[in-house]
Each structure stands twice: as C-alpha cells, then as structure tokens.
Symmetry: C2
Subunit: 371 residues, 2 copies
C-alpha cells in the first residue's frame, strides 16, 4: 500500500457516511494480451525487491524477477509470458518474503500467499451465466482434536428447492500447506461443478472440503497431517462423515461416497479411502500417492486380492501432470496397479504440481463419479 | 517464511503420500498472560523492521515497534500490553509494508492485512459448545455491476431442519477497505448469534453480508461505495433483496427486514434504509453516519415529519466508541434526532474505531430486532 492509499483510507474512516468517499481496492498485477504480468511494489528504503515465482519456472517465465525502482520508491517489473492457470508467488524485499500487498492472497505454503491468475483459452473453471451452487462454511467441534473446526460444503444448484432429494458426497482434500479454503479459492471447484451440471455432464453431488491438518490435544506436532496417531483419519471416519450425513441430505452408503485429494490430500484419500471399504467406494488421487508401492502389503493389503478389490471399489482414479516432479512415481503406481490387475483410471496431461492441473483433474474425475 | 520452512514445504510436495510429512502452519504472534504480543519476522538483508499498529495507540500500546535482529536474520519484538479485541497491523521492512507472513490475514485497508486477536474477559464472540449456524457463500450475477459477486448469508441453527419456518433478515455491511468477509472473519458475527440464540436472547434471523463496493460497468471509480450513480443502493434494492427472498425462507415485509453497517456501512445502512421505508423498518448505524445533519432535509427529508417517521420505522439504532475519532459527530447526530423528537436508541461505550466495538454493537443491536 503506498502512502497515498494509506491516507485515502484513513480519510475513508473519518468520512464514513459522506457521499464523497472513494477507495481503490486491490486488483492484482496487470496482465497483458501476451500474458505478461506487471507487478508494482512500494518500498522506498529497500535495496533489492524481487518477484519470487513459487511454481515451476515456465509458470511465470522465470523463477524470479528483479524489480527496478523509480525515484519515488515505486518498484516494478514485467514478466515474460506466463502460462495459463494459478501460480503462487511472493515478493522479496531485502530478503523478507511476504505476500504482494497489491494482490489477492490465498492460504498456501503454510501461510497467506499471493496467487497470479493467468487467463487461458479454457473457461470451464470460470463463473458462467448458469445456476450457482452454494458453499457453506460449516463449523463443528471435534473430539479428536479438541478444537472448533470448519469445513466447506458445496451443495449443487437446486439443493434448497428439491427438499426430498438426496445426494452422493465427495470428500475433497487440499495439498500440504493449504487449507479447507483451497479447493474453492484456488481450485474454483464450485464453478467447475456449476458448469458441468449445466451441461448435464456430472451427477449432482455434495462436496465436503475439510482441513487436512489434525492433531490430538497436546500433540507437539499440530501440523502433522496423518501419521501414527491417525488423527485426521479418525476425524473423517468417526466425526466428519457422520456429521455430514446428519446435517445434509446425503445417500449414506459407500456406493454414494467418494474421497479424493491433491498431493498430500492424494495420500490421505488413498489411505483413508482404501482403509475403509465400508465407507468409500470411489477414490481419486491427484498428483500424489503410491510411493514404495507393494500390491501385496501397501494400504493394509487391500490390493492383495484383485478380485475382491475390483468387486468392491467402483473407481480408483490417478492423475498427474507430465512436468510434476513426482510424475514418475505416480505413473509407476498406476503401472504397478495395472500389472496387479487392479482396475484403475489413469489421467496424464500437461502441467506441473499446480492448480491448473488439479482443476483438470476434478473436471475429469467428477464426471465419472456415482454412475 | 524462512528458508527452513520453504525447504520443508518443498519436501512436503515431493513426499506427498508418505507417512512422514510434517508442516508447521502459521499460528500468529504469541500473546502472554499480560497480553503482550511477540512478533517474529525473517528478513536477513533488512536495515529496519517494524510492527505498525493500524489502530489507535492504546490498542497495541504504541503506534509502532522497532524489531531487533539476531545474527541469523530473525527479527523480533515484544509489545507492551495490548487491549482485548482485534487490531489491524502490518510489518514494515525498509519502508515496504506487508501483511505479517506468520499471521492470519483479513481483508481490510483495501488489501489482505494482518490481524492481532487479543483475548479478554468476554467470550460472547468466541465459538462455544452450542449449535452453530451456517455461513453460505452465495454467488450471483449483478446486472447493476455487470459482474459476478458473492454475498455471505448466515442461517441460524435449525434452519435446515425447520423447513416450514420463515425468518426475518438483517443486511449487515462492513467498513471502508473491507469486504463481505469482514463480519464473519473479523467480527465473528456467526458465533455472536449462535451464542445469543442458545441463551434465548435474540430472535432467529438470517444475516446477509454483501460487498459494499459496487460500480456500474465501465465506471472509472470501481471503489466508489455509493455516490451519484447509487450503484450499491440499486444493487441492494433491485437485486440483492429479491434474490435473498427468492433463495431463503424469509419474511418479505419491511417489519421483518433490517439494515445495519459499520463506518462506511453505517452511512450505507442509513441512506438505503431511510431511503426505502417500504423495504426496511429497522436500521443500525455503528460508528458512522449523520454528518452535516439537518432534520428537515437530510436523508431525503424522511425526518421532516417526526410522527410519520416514528410510526413507520421500528428501530433507529446509533452507536459509537468514546475513543472513536468520529464520536462527537455520531453523538451530535443522536442529539439532533432527540431534539427533533425522532425515536432513536443510543449506545456508547469504551473503544475506538475498531472491531471490538462493533462486536458489542451487533450484540446489543441484534437483541432489539424483530420484537
């Protein structure tokens, strides 16, 4: 925020109630027709100001950009052409890394982090002139963690009107360092579903997005997503699923319940989904999971008898971007499943470990669900 | 984020799916029993790092604090005792002002800004072991602005179960530089209502929180909250109210519809509420409104005939904190209304232009509504 804006906002507070107030709210970096982004930062006493691209190099054309200063303390830089999609970035000022004060912030990398949304040819994740579902912020107390938590719940258009209708449920998890907000804020999953529903390409479903970080009271490792104490798994199985089934008009059998996630969430979807065949029959792992895979012993031995597995689960869906650092591991997992005659759906495409890939993953995965 | 965290998060992405992943998520500044806050910032190349208190001096004990550096680029400072409540603040690094990377961010001051939540003796705004209402993120297209917008809608506990029940509606607006998120994120209005309902001290109601910034397509002043073109007023009257009445189980008469707001939102609540006696019969102005008041001509002359006004409106509620820079103006407005024999409810108390005051305002105001 530059001094002019600070002063004008201070005036706003004083002038509240007058008809002459103005406020310039953040708009984010400007992006031109060649998808070059121009960043502006006010840092009058700084020696070095940079834009740090937290995604792969090609996402923003370089891993970092040095900004240049005018005579008034305003720094600016224009990037090379950026790739369509959502890219995390930070501003670095003399070694201090922070979110860009002029841009929207998203919870990622364990904190509020800037995101650059670069437009592309595709509009499947943009809001369209179609009926919109609602995202509910649903608060609950967890006995597992001893804390109040919130999950986000997407209900499709018509949920309020069709009061006798029941819906299948997809539990959808974010990645490491992100939160329950990520699938709507970064992923735009609500718009993706709205658009798919309008085209008749997806079954109406409820989507539950919880926070993948859970720790038992007194735990010294509150950031541990899952581990020996299985806090998150217990929370999902014994608290979240029963609460959702009690609070929303759901179908409550495993044939109408899916679990999926990205990266860390892929690991959670696999371990929780495969660990509870009585709860989940549809599983999606986006850009994660399957390390050190052994078809006889991994995931509690659920794959040891392929016939039993194939007769129980309705969908095991794996996807990864070609440029993802973990691509070869996920691909090897898929190939090992094929070799073990475990039915699975494999999806690969362009992109790295990034939200544009996961938008495509939920687009493809959701259309297969509950059919 | 320090280098160690960046590396560990990078590992998280690579290790997704393993059982050994860890993440340290933000916790905000530490606050001791004397309500002194300790801030930490990593800025290895900086010459000067400060914590900037964006509220009044007493909120955090000083307007700013110089941080001191250890030999590893870690800066820290412990404040004097802070006042209970929510205080906006920023980190300044060599003149660059940004949100604290180690703290939660809230949309305020026209951007994502850090907030320090200092505990106090009161718990009316904290989540308790009571039934929780839901906050709905409701997307809609506005013809007035030509954009997609979202409003937040609080529905009280029992809304989903009591399918034949209808509810009165409070439209509740944020202040300048804030957004539709503020009343839940900063204000905790959902918890305040949950707690009041459990005690039987408030009528169950729906609360609609929209974004007070609206501009017509092509406007060169998108930040203008209201003015000659009355974009926001038109949006509320012709789009928001009808949409809410069509989407939620509301009572649709003015005796069951309130509008209130803080600071800039107080001005909006007054001008929209007083401009539409057929729509709103309950009005709340928190810490704003009433500048250059003339009972004959202000607000379209609605006060010119006190008998008509008093017979039409059910509640005109004004509140302000003693330490608010605008206190004398709001108090003068209240006194002028009294002098003109306009029925109004006056609420004053400790605090400045800050969220702790507005939490008390909604606590007091909401209990009077729809009785």
């Amino acid at each position: 925020m530059n001094k002019k804006l600070i002063i004008s906002l201070a005036f706003l507070f004083l002038l509240a109630g007058s008809n002459s107030v103005k406020a310039q709210l953040i708009k984010g970096p400007q992006i031109d027709r060649q998808n070059r982004a121009t960043f502006h930062v006010y840092a009058p006493g700084a020696d070095s100001v940079k834009v740090i691209n937290l995604s792969d190099e090609a996402a923003m054309g370089a891993k970092e950009y040095n900004m240049t200063e005018d005579t008034s303390g305003n720094w600016a830089v224009t990037t090379k052409s950026c790739r369509a999609g959502f890219h995390y970035y930070e501003i670095s000022v003399d070694g201090f890394r922070a979110a860009d004060p002029s841009a929207p912030a998203y919870f990622g990398w364990g904190k509020w982090t800037s995101g650059l949304e670069v437009p592309g040819d595709e509009d499947f994740y943009l809001p369209q002139e179609v009926p919109h579902g609602e995202v509910h912020y649903h608060w609950y107390h967890s006995d597992v963690t001893g804390t109040y938590r919130k999950c986000l719940v997407y209900t499709p258009p018509g949920y309020e009107e069709n009061k006798s209708e029941r819906y299948p449920v997809l539990y959808l998890q974010h990645g490491a360092g992100e939160s329950e907000l990520a699938w709507t804020m970064q992923g735009k999953v609500n718009f993706i579903m709205d658009n798919l529903l309008e085209e008749g390409n997806v079954k109406p479903m409820i989507i539950v997005m919880d926070n993948g970080y859970a720790a038992r009271p007194g735990s010294e490792n509150p950031g541990r997503p899952y581990g020996r104490d299985n806090a998150f798994e217990n929370l999902v199985v014994h608290e979240l699923v029963p609460m959702i089934d009690a609070s929303y008009r759901t179908f409550t059998d495993a044939d109408h319940r899916a679990i999926a996630g990205l990266s860390m969430g892929a690991g959670q979807a696999l371990s929780i989904g495969l660990g509870h065949p009585g709860l989940f029959h549809w599983i999606g792992a986006f850009s994660g999971g399957g390390r050190r895979f052994d078809p006889q012993t991994s995931y509690g031995g659920v794959f040891a008898n392929p016939q039993t597995f194939n007769g129980t689960y309705r969908l095991l869906w794996l996807g990864c971007g070609y440029a993802d650092n973990g691509y070869e591991h996920v691909e090897a997992f898929h190939q090992a499943l094929d070799k073990a005659v475990i039915e699975n759906t494999w999806y690969e495409g362009p992109g790295s470990h990034e939200w544009q890939v996961w938008r495509h993953h939920i687009l493809a995965f959701s259309q297969l669900l509950f059919r």
